[in-house]
Symmetry: C2
Subunit: 417 residues, 2 copies
C-alpha cells in the first residue's frame, strides 16, 4: 500500500492549542509528524519546551526547505493570512484554525490552493472536534443536502445554557464562561455572533459551494436576549439557541443566516448544552442526522488540528466538489421568517412591515409579538437591532415565497375579493 | 479539476431499498448514475418500472461490459457474496448493504479489493444513514481512537424504547416494530443480536484494523430482558440499550463485544430513541463525539447507498489504513466486566466465579445481583444465557486487569495478609 509522508512541521503559536499539539505529537510517534520549529511573538515568556525550539522570526520556518507543513494557531487574522499564503506559495501544506482569517480571505485562499495544488486544511476552524467540514466534503452530495443547522459557538451556547438551567443573568453567565476559558477577554466576537458567522461562511461553501464574505450573511448574537425571553421560551417549552442555518429553497437557491432561535425539546440541537457544538444535517431520504462534540477549549481544537495533520500524511485535500464539479448554489433573499420580537416601546416596531402577526402580547411591561416578515426587511433595516429590541426565530422559521403567495391569495378569496 | 466518472449501474434487488434507490437516481440526474438493468428473483411480481429494466439472469448484469458498478441490496447472504465477488473479479466496483455477508466473508473481500484495486463500499451496512465507516476511515487516526460505543440495531432500540416509554411488554413492542417495518418477519436476527454483531465486525475493522469473524465477538441481544429489569433501571435512573462497544486497553489490545447495558441519562446514547442509531466516539483530546441518525428503514439505507454511489464518481475507496498502514490491534480477553444479573433461581448463578459482588437482592421474586466478573468467564460459559437469566452491563462496565490486581492486593493488605 502507499507509504505515509514524513511530516516536518513549522508551528506558529504556542498558546494552549499550540502547546497541547506539541505534547500530543511527542506522545504519538507513529503519527510520523515532528515539530521542528515554533514561531512565537513574545520571546521573553517562559515555555515548557527546549529554548532552541523557538524563534520570533517567521522566515526561519517559511524559508526552511525541510519543513513541509505549516500549522498556524495564532489569534491575529492578518498575520495569519500572511503566514498561510506565504506558506502555500513556498510549497508547504497548511493546517489553520483561524476561522476569521479564512472566512475573510476565502476567495484568495481557494485560488491559492488551485494554483499550488497544495492542501489547506482547517477542520479546527468550525465546530472544533466535530468533523463537519470533512463530512460535508466527502459524504453529503450536492443534490442530497436539504438543510444544515448548527450550534457553532461554544461560548454563547454555554452562556445560554447557564441562563436557562441556573437562571443566571447574562452578565453572570458571561463571567463564568470567561473564568472557565470558554469566552475571550473581549467577548464581543463570540457574544455578538461574529465568530459564528465566520464559521458559517466556511460551512456554506462546503455544504453548498457558496463562496461569500461574512458581511453577506445576516447574523446577530445573543447580546439582546433578556430574562423575559427565556421565561417566554420556558412557557412554550422551548430553549433558546444561537443557530446558524442554511436551507435549499424550492427555487434551488439557499437561505443562510445566523440568528437566535426557539428550539423545541425534540430538536437534537436542544441536546447541545454548555460549550458543546452540534450540527443537524437533513439530507435526501436520510432524514435528520446529528453530529455532536466539544466546540470550544484547547484540546478539542488541538485534536481537530491533529486529525488534519494525520490526513496530510495521506495527501488529503479538500476537493470543493460542490464549488468546482457542480453548478454552485446562490444565496437567496426571497423568503420569509417567522420571528418573535420582544420590546419595551411599540413605537419602534414597524408593524406594517410584517406579512401578518400571529401573537400579540402588549400587557406585560416587556411586550412581544410573533409574526412573519420578509428576510429582506431584516437585511435592509436595523430596527430589530436597536432600542432594546430582541429578535428570536420561531422553531420552523423559514417560509418560502410561494407559500406566502398562496396564503395571500387564499385570504383574499376568503375576504371575497 | 478532475472529471467525474459516468456510472452505469447493475442493481441486484428491487425491494424497498432497491426501488427507493431507482426513484432517487431518476430524480437526481446530476449524480450521473443510471441504472441499466435490475436483477430480481421473482419475475412474476408487478413492478413500478418498465419491464425491459428487469432480468432474472445475473449474468446479464455481471457480463455487461458497459455496467461499471454493481449495487447489491438483496437479503440472502450467500448469493450476495457470489454477486459481489464475481463483480469485483470482472472489474466492476461494488456498493453493498449486506452486513451479514460482508462480516462473514471479510477476509476474502479484503483480499479481493487488494488484488483488483477496485472499490467495495458498504456504508449502508452499518448505522444506515450515519456515515460512521467513512468517519472511522478518514478522520479518527489509529492512535487517537480510545473507544467507540454504538447503538447499531434500530429494531431492538425501538423495542426497548417502547418497553420503557409506553411500558409495553416485549411481545407487544416487537409486534409494533414489525408492523412499522423496523423488524424482520423472523425477528431472531435483530432481537438476539446477530445483526448488531455483524455490523460490529465491520466497525471494529474500520476503528482498529481488527479483522475477525462475528463468532469471535461476544454478543447477545435483548431477548432475555424482563419488565423487572426495566423497573430496576428506572429506580437507578438508567435506560437499557443494546450497546456495541470497543475500547483500547492499557496493554494496547482492544476489548469488543455487544451486550445490553444500563445507560445513564447523561450518556448521549440515552438520547437515541426508537429506530434511531447512535455512535459515541472517544478520541484523544477531543473528548466524546456523538453521531446520530436513522439506522433502520428503506430510505436511510437507500441514502447511504446513494452516498457510496456518489463517492464512486470520485474513485473513492476505503484504504483500511489501520489494517495496512499501522500495526493492527488485537482483540483482548484479559479484562473484567461489571454486570447486573437478574434470575429466578440462585442455584444457576456461579457466585464463586465473580471477583466480587457489590449488590445482592434476593428478597424479591425476581432476584438480582451486581458484581465484577472476568470477560473470559462469559466467553467460556453459558449460564448467563440460560435458565431465564438476564445479564445487563453496568454504565462503565470495563475494568482493566491491572486495576483488579491492585484492588485484590489492597484487600489482602487490609485483611492483614
Amino acid at each position: 500500500m502507499e507509504s505515509q509522508k514524513q511530516l516536518t512541521i513549522g508551528l506558529f503559536g504556542f498558546g494552549v492549542v499550540g502547546e497541547g499539539l506539541y505534547r500530543v505529537l511527542q506522545q504519538t510517534p507513529s503519527l510520523k509528524a515532528k515539530i521542528k520549529k515554533v514561531c512565537i511573538k513574545d520571546a521573553s515568556k517562559k515555555r515548557n519546551a527546549p529554548d532552541e525550539l523557538f524563534t520570533t522570526d517567521k522566515d526561519v520556518l517559511l524559508n526552511d526547505p525541510e519543513i513541509n507543513v505549516i500549522v498556524e494557531v495564532i489569534n491575529e487574522s492578518e498575520p495569519a493570512f500572511e503566514i498561510v499564503s506565504r506558506a502555500l506559495r513556498s510549497g508547504k501544506e497548511v493546517v489553520s484554525a483561524s476561522k476569521k482569517m479564512l472566512a475573510e480571505h476565502y476567495p484568495e485562499l481557494l485560488q491559492l490552493q488551485k494554483e499550488t495544488g497544495l492542501s489547506l486544511l482547517y477542520e479546527a476552524s468550525a465546530c472544533a472536534s466535530i468533523p463537519v467540514i470533512r463530512n460535508l466534503e466527502e459524504y453529503y452530495d450536492n443534490d442530497l443536502l436539504h438543510s444544515i443547522r448548527a450550534i457553532v459557538n461554544g461560548s454563547t451556547n454555554f452562556i445560554l445554557t447557564k441562563m436557562f438551567e441556573e437562571k443566571l443573568d447574562f452578565k453572570e453567565a458571561l463571567l463564568l464562561a470567561q473564568q472557565l476559558g470558554f469566552a475571550e477577554a473581549d467577548p464581543k466576537l463570540d457574544v455578538e455572533g461574529y465568530d459564528a458567522v465566520n464559521k458559517w461562511t466556511l460551512l456554506v461553501n462546503h455544504a453548498y459551494g457558496i463562496v461569500t464574505h461574512p458581511d453577506n450573511l445576516l447574523f446577530t448574537g445573543i447580546q439582546s436576549i433578556q430574562g423575559s425571553d427565556a421565561v417566554v421560551a420556558r412557557e412554550k417549552n422551548f430553549e433558546i439557541k444561537l443557530v446558524a442555518q442554511a436551507k435549499k429553497l424550492v427555487d434551488g437557491k439557499v437561505a443562510a443566516f445566523v440568528l437566535p432561535q426557539f428550539v423545541k425539546l425534540t430538536d437534537p440541537l436542544s441536546f447541545v448544552k454548555n460549550e458543546y457544538n452540534g450540527v443537524v444535517i437533513e439530507s435526501g431520504f436520510a432524514d435528520k442526522q446529528f453530529f455532536y462534540g466539544k466546540g470550544a477549549g484547547s484540546f478539542p481544537t488541538a485534536s481537530a488540528v491533529l486529525s488534519d495533520i494525520a490526513a496530510l500524511r495521506y495527501d488529503y485535500h479538500y476537493e470543493y466538489k460542490k464549488l468546482y464539479y457542480h453548478k454552485p448554489h446562490e444565496l437567496s433573499s426571497d423568503f420569509y421568517l417567522k420571528i418573535y420580537v420582544s420590546f419595551d416601546d411599540l413605537s419602534f416596531i414597524p408593524k406594517d412591515k410584517f406579512e401578518w402577526i400571529e401573537e400579540w402580547h402588549s400587557d406585560a411591561d416587556r411586550k412581544y409579538l410573533v409574526g412573519v416578515i420578509a428576510f429582506k426587511e431584516l437585511q435592509q433595516n436595523n430596527w430589530w437591532r436597536e432600542n432594546n429590541t430582541s429578535l428570536i426565530l420561531a422553531p420552523e422559521p423559514i417560509i418560502e415565497d410561494v407559500e406566502i403567495r398562496k396564503i395571500k391569495k387564499k385570504s383574499l378569496e376568503l375576504a371575497g375579493l
